[in-house]
Amino acid sequence: MSNSFLEIKDVTFAVSKLNKVNNVTFDMVKEGEIICLLGPSGIGKTTVLRTIAGLEKIQSGKIILKGKVISSSNFHLEPEKRNIALSFQENSLFPHYSVIDNIKFGSERNKDKKFIYSTNDLINLLHLEDIKKKYPHEISAGEAQRVSLARSLISKPDLLLLDEPFSNIDQSLKEELQKKIKEIINEIKISTIIVTHDSYEAFYMGNKCGIILDQSLKQFDIPYNIYHYPNSIEIVNFLNRGVLIDALVTGEMTLQNEELGIIMGNFVKKQKIGSSVKLLIQPEDLSHDDKSSLRLEVVDRKFRGTNFIYILKTNSNKFIPVLVDSHHAHQHRIKDKFGIRKPIHIDHLVCF
């Protein structure tokens, strides 16, 4: 038996009669880790959290927390006995208690457990000072989410589950809060699972990320690997990372594409020489070179602040993104020809 802190073993999560997330297996090795579950809306991420929290039962598989089975096909520990906190996406504050009283509801649980933050610390950290006397209907959705987060944190759970914790919070505060929450979680070593549809949030917050697509957990890995070594076309499409072009494997470290020519690099997965594959081209893979003979037409230009992404059209109607520093001396207009440095070298060759 492994001694992971949390183990999800071959669990099928039933979202609705038709929609399920099948045979999910992952684990949280150490206490205090953050796992982010990433996926599009309506895929069942929330159901996964609700099931771990004990609000839904499972038909197959096992959920094991601290070596104890808490859910299986024939056993179900009631949610109030699990010591797992879930912070809902929608407002779930008790409507007839003020913000401060709502938070205090959380502190009733695990009173004796040591906790380095007091209720007031959390109120300050989460910027709730001004609203602590208010009632839930008087505060905004983002504020309600923060109160709910404070209430969950203060209950000192073994496992903290956050459902889209930053979805109603505006961009600037969101980044500040993400940083703070990460600090708090790391400091008090509270094991956390965060559900989100924002990949940047998941990559920033998570020690590990799981991607749920098409009713299953497609990949579970550290963020770097998910970003650079996506293991399926679906993940590439979901993360919106680039395009797939047809290529022919010509050697141990080379590929050949009709228009781009020879492409060199290290294969992530070994490919048979002579096989035709789909190669992932990400925006940062290609470099700009005005002098290059390889020139493609610009069809769109996206200004991203620190950089531009030029979208180039190939003759075979593929749209290839290329990242260029925004300080780059001259800019290219739509319909201009845009040079790409040759020979093309890509660090990790991701092929399918």
């Binding site: 609700r50 929290a53 004990g54 609000l55 009631e78 949610p79 109030e80 006995k81 699990r82 010591n83 797992i84 906190a85 879930l86 809902f88 929608e90 407002n91 779930s92 504050l93 008790f94 409507p95 007839h96 509801f105 959380g106 009733e108 649980r109 695990n110 709910s148 209430r151 969950s152 209950s155 759970p157």
Partner: protein, 535 residues
Amino acid sequence: MKIKQINLWYISSFFISLLVALPILTVFLSFFETTTDYFFLLKNTFLLQYISNSILLLFGVLLLSFLFGVGAAYCVSFYDFPGVNFFKWALILSFAVPAYIYAYALTAFFENYGTAFSILTYLFGPNEYNSIIPKVDGLFGSIVSISFSLFGYVYVLTRASFYYQSQNLIDVGRNLGLSPKKTLLKIILPSARPAIVVGLSLVAMETLSDFGTVSFFSVSTLTTAIYNAWIAFDDLASANQLSFILLLFILFLFFIENFSRKRAKYHTPSKGGFDTRIKIKLSGYKLFYTVSFCGLLFFCSFLFPVLQMLYWVLKFPKYLQDLNILNLVFNTLLLVVLSCILMIIFSFVANYGCRITKSKFLEILTTFSVSGYAIPGVILAVAFITLVSYLDNFIFFNFKTMFIGSIFGLVVVYFVRFFALSANGIKSGYLKINHSIDESAYLLGYSKFKTFSKIHIPYLKNSVLLISILIAIEIIKELPITLILRPFNFETFATIAYIYASQDLLEAAAAPSLFLILIASIFILLVSRYILSDK
């Protein structure tokens, strides 16, 4: 899996539904029993008359309540005139005057040598006025009495619907070139139609259930026929068969009401857009007509019966002294408190059961168990007696005396009749508590019971208070059930007023009637804010 789900919630919800279902089943089953001679007699002679009277009464009342209710709602919603805020809530005071008491007041005023006669004599000197004073009694008197006491349903529901109509709708109409009159007929009224239909069907159900008024005016309708079959001929079978016919009418109305209520929901727009409506400031003859209409309606529906009763109480003080007020208040309170406790406990059980089991079957059971409000009190009482007498054959201890002529039996039948009030009240309170709130509580370590006691109860305590008052108003006014099932010598304001009135001692009926109206008015004022909200 299946067996695990059959728990306390199922059993109690099932029990409540059964309680409501039994009287209805009793009525339906007895229809197929061998007919007694009395029923044949009825069929050959009076049955048609009962039915036609009931129908005439129904249409008369519907017409008047529509005019009064929609007219008043329109005036206070769209126009600004002096006293508009007063009339807005003053018009709901009509709920405090039961139709049968209104009937006493009408008779007292218009009868030979009645109050109208006294006023004319005082003003113009003695003369033979009896021949020129119109006699408001019989079917016409019943229609007037019932309309003035029930138009409030139409008023309240229509006003709520008008309130939620956005100014946009009216502006669009104007923008498309509709005249104000056309706006009223083509936009405002049609979009309030579901609310008006719900109001009218409630009025219709109450009218068909009315017993006190028609019996006082000696109009033979289905309800009085049921009562007479039971009390005068001691013929439960005929009473039940008549009930069956009445129930068919009610069932029809019940479906109309339920159907319209569902549609009415679509007409409540979400937040915003409805409080911007600008009321039209009235002047000139329009102002005069509007104020007169509202003023007259308020006078006729509330002030007139109150003043008439007050006048008689002052004129014949000896009846007041005879009245054991403390005892009556105590009896009424006893019934109210016992019923409230029973209904509220069961409402919580039913609603909480539905909530945590999330069972569709349980929900259907609960929906069914609130349908008792549609059944006339007379039918419920008679069916209850039938049922208990039947069961008595199988049970050896004093089963019958436990239920019939006991406060316990009375409360049980009140329960069936008014359970809808409390169950729906608690339900609408529960609808405001998101499911994730319960789940949050579980996740914070609160057990199901602790969630119930620490989260639900404090949140719903206002609903409970409101429901208790609404139940109190209904029970104070309730006549036929109390009359038929009350213990010997146990009187409420309603029964004692009825007994005096039916003995032609209207002067003596004045004091209990006045007290009844006053107590009901106080309760209505306490909940007026709720009644006037969207409901």
